[in-house]
């Protein structure tokens, strides 16, 4: 077992806060990327189907 001694709070708090921030950052980027990808896919599908309808009418 490693000996952190009297500085245990400083070391563990540093690691805890930093790892939490990094995980939150990665999570935020990935969630937003997924959400926008899904929205883009939906609107592209809608646009293509509207385009096909317009072609049929003409």
């Amino acid at each position: 077992m490693i000996e952190l001694g009297k500085y245990a709070f400083s070391v563990l708090a540093s690691y805890g806060i930093s790892i939490s921030i990094i995980i939150l950052l990665i999570f935020t980027y990935l969630v937003k990327a997924r959400k926008i990808s899904k929205q883009l896919h939906e609107i592209e599908t809608e646009w293509k189907s509207k385009d096909k309808k317009n072609e049929t009418i003409h």
């Binding site: 490693i2 000996e3 952190l4 001694g5 009297k6 500085y7 245990a8 400083s10 070391v11 708090a13 540093s14 690691y15 806060i17 930093s18 790892i19 921030i21 990094i22 950052l25 990665i26 935020t28 980027y29 990935l30 937003k32 990327a33 926008i36 990808s37 929205q39 883009l40 609107i43 592209e44 809608e46 646009w47 509207k50």
Partner: protein, 241 residues
Amino acid sequence: MNIWYYANPLKFLHITSKVVNPLLIIGLICVVSGLAWGFFFTPNDYKQGSTVKIIYIHVPAALIAINTWFVMLVSSLIWLIRRHHVSALIAKSAAPVGVCMTIITLLTGALWGQPMWGTWWAWDPRLTSFLILFLFYLGYIALWKAIEDKDSAADLTSVLCIVGSVFAVLSRYAVLFWNQGLHQGATLSLDKEKNIADVFYHPLLICILGFVLIFVALTLIGCRTEIKLRRYSAIAAKINT
């Protein structure tokens, strides 16, 4: 093929789709293994005790925080000169990563400084310029959100980026310029005698590599998201007309 090939958003999306996930995964592996190596398998410092283990987070975060601003600077200059939208979006996507790394640096620095210097904070040149850099990051992100027209936002934030570069440089070189203050000089040096001991150096290098890869992956993911968002807005506008 030259570098401006990647300025085309669709080509950028196609090429980066293959690299972002491997970059992120390798980055995470490097960070986890570097931190585990440093935390569990390196000795305590004879002066600083176990607080030396904070180096494996503090130094990589500081490096990324400063160098992110330089990446944003280069991207902003490319936007101002060549008007490539992808470069403006690279700068926009990198900023939140830079903010988080600056926060990590400031917090871990305070947690390290309290037992070593007896204070959470000091108006030391390096610390002060880092705090100002953090405020510039916040201002940069706020300015993007405040301006509706995207091209105007890119122009103004690029100018802000150029101005803020002064503090990025100061954060890195303040110790040399003023030769005073609490914060030590460079941790890493090409001169082996001035460099930290190998037992700390090797896990630190792994951590730095991991942080760099995560920064690159997140910036590319953010840029891809911004490109898709703009495409979404363009299609929505066409559908509604």
